[in-house]
């Protein structure tokens, strides 16, 4: 059972840990672990990732103790580590799963022909989006879920998804026209 901890005790453990006390560091990290865990659960729910987030946030505290010049600032210091970890978690939320070992991708076929000439300029496509749709896409790429985006922009998840659906439909219609236009030409003679 760890000793009783309050902010005065925490500051004392920080000083002792910086002076090389192993026991103080152990007490300090043990005291921080539970609020860290509660914090991450409050943000992303009870998932296996919480263990990694807690551990990595504690490692940040451990590694950075040398930079903590004022032990009374431990709270700000620990909060910063937890927030860094959370932003990293958002970044990794979708891409690893979508690109992992090309398991979820169609395999590469070496003699695969070029599919279509309907390429569009990304810059032009981005500028054609409504401000709202672009804002949603950027937040989605940051790593937030649609539900979280809705909460952030004061809307509903259904309304957010409707914006995305409209943006996609507009682009699809535009590409459909291009394909139709390309298909209207006779094949080239060799």
């Amino acid at each position: 059972m760890p000793p009783i901890a309050d902010t005065v005790q925490l500051a004392s453990w920080v000083r002792e840990a910086r002076d090389g006390s192993e026991a103080a560091l152990t007490h300090l990290l043990r005291a921080l672990e539970s609020p860290m865990r509660s914090f991450f659960i409050s943000r992303i729910g009870r998932r296996p990732d919480v263990d990694d987030l807690v551990q990595n946030a504690l490692l940040r505290v451990h590694r950075g103790l040398g930079d903590l010049n004022d032990p009374n600032r431990l709270k700000a210091f620990a909060m910063k580590g937890a927030l860094y970890e959370l932003q990293d978690f958002y970044r990794g939320r979708y891409t690893p799963k979508e690109r992992l070992f090309d398991i979820h991708e169609a395999p590469e076929i070496h003699d695969e022909p070029e599919v279509s000439g309907a390429r569009i300029d990304v810059e032009k496509a981005l500028s054609s989006l409504s401000d709202k749709a672009r804002r949603i896409i950027e937040l989605r790429e940051y790593g937030y879920r649609y539900e979280e985006i809705a909460e952030m922009v004061g809307s509903t998840e259904a309304a957010i998804k409707m914006q995305v659906k409209r943006a996609f439909a507009r682009m699809r219609d535009a590409i459909g026209l291009v394909l139709l236009w390309i298909g209207s030409f006779p094949p080239l003679e060799r």
Partner: protein
């Protein structure tokens, strides 16, 4: 567009089943495939512009919380990062109004941290948080629901495990603390690293990461078995085990650490050397396995056949593998009779599949990519053909 497709497009994450439905839809509707490819490009373009215009995520944290973080809680690097980000943020917001949403979200997260901190520490005489959940002072703050109390108590055991890990590092000052650590408990776990590399950890394996974006080399330490897919960079990527050091620039390979170290190379080139400086290193080519038993001075080299060398990972790995060989391996893996039409036998296939997805899903994905069909014959065998 059919309702089912609309629904899938708006999923937060696509499952393999979602992707299979999409691929089938592509065959019937080329415009849909083209649109989805462009949509992915558009998303990537939005992310890329954000990366170039907006301060880093760490800088956004410092910006959002600068009123709570006085310089005493910042490193020299952070102070400089904040100064630079402060100069750029107005322009970033003009270009990307969503930056304000992110800053607001980070402030909300900081508020949540404040609350958890206050619950844990802002009262003298509070014991450990787990004990607090049952104590009278906790009730004075606000009695948590029974479900919450149970959650806190059940999490205490996991908390102790993580602490032991951190304590181990501290108790041995000669071992530097990793930047990040990951461990797979009962199942396989995917780890995504800062440089874009990915590692699949086998159950009970753990990975300590000793690099960040400012490091001149990428160094990790592996306990247990891992499958690595390393992005190509000028900075070498080094995998340490108890007795071996494997160095790569960008490649795909597996490492096992039972009774020594075994490195199986899928693509690229790696060098493998004993950690004992007296020993000699070797260079492996794709399809080769390096074995270094405890106490050995030089690794031994053997040939291996994919996916045989990766059975432990549950992955079926194909690299420019003729379809005839692919179906033979799938037949063996799933104890099925699978054949392929003559015109497809020599078609090379590159892909990696989790065997737990099952033969039907894997064959369906392959057929989709080939523009082929899978037919079940009267005798129960499967035939892949166009």
């Amino acid at each position: 567009m059919p309702y089912e497709l609309e629904h899938i497009l708006l999923h937060d994450e696509w499952t393999e089943a979602d992707r299979t439905v999409l691929r089938q839809a592509f065959e019937a509707d080329p415009a849909l495939e083209a649109a989805l490819r462009r949509w992915e490009e558009l998303r990537a373009g939005a992310a890329s512009r954000w990366e170039s215009d907006v301060p880093s995520r760490a800088a956004l944290v410092l910006l959002a919380c600068q009123d709570r973080l006085d310089p005493a809680a910042m490193s020299e690097n952070e102070r400089s990062l904040l100064q630079e980000a402060s100069a750029r943020v107005d322009q970033a917001i003009r270009r990307h109004p969503a930056v304000e949403d992110v800053l607001g979200r980070i402030r909300t997260e900081a508020d949540a941290f404040d609350r958890e901190w206050a619950r844990a520490f802002d009262r003298s005489g509070i014991a450990s948080p787990a004990k607090t959940a049952r104590g009278p002072l906790r009730k004075a703050v606000g009695s948590p629901s029974r479900g919450l109390r149970l959650a806190r108590l059940s999490l205490a055991a996991a908390a102790t495990i993580a602490l032991l890990f951190v304590g181990r590092i501290w108790l041995n000052p000669a071992v530097p603390a990793p930047v990040m650590s990951f461990s797979a408990q009962t199942g396989m776990q995917v780890v995504s690293l800062e440089d874009g590399s990915r590692v699949l950890l086998a159950p009970q394996a753990s990975l300590d990461v000793y690099f960040d974006e400012s490091s001149t080399e990428r160094r990790v330490r592996l306990h247990g078995d891992g499958f690595f897919e390393i992005t190509s960079q000028a900075r070498p990527f080094r995998v340490e085990t108890d007795n071996a050091l494997t160095t790569v620039l960008g490649t795909t390979f597996g490492v096992r650490t039972q009774e020594g170290t075994e490195v199986l190379l899928v693509s690229g080139r790696v060098s493998m050397a004993p950690t004992n400086e007296a020993g000699q290193g070797i260079t492996l080519s794709p399809g080769q396995r390096g074995l270094l038993a405890p106490g050995d001075a030089t690794p031994r080299v053997q040939e291996f056949t994919m996916p045989e060398g990766f059975e432990w990972s549950g992955l079926l790995i194909f690299r420019s593998t003729p379809m005839q060989t692919v179906v033979e391996r799938l037949s063996d893996a799933f104890d099925l009779s699978i054949s392929v039409s003559d015109d497809l036998k020599e078609t090379p296939l590159t892909g990696t599949f989790e065997s737990e997805r099952g033969s039907t899903t894997i064959l369906s994905i392959i057929a989709s990519a080939l523009g082929a069909t899978v037919t079940e014959r009267a005798n129960g065998s499967l035939h892949v053909h166009r």
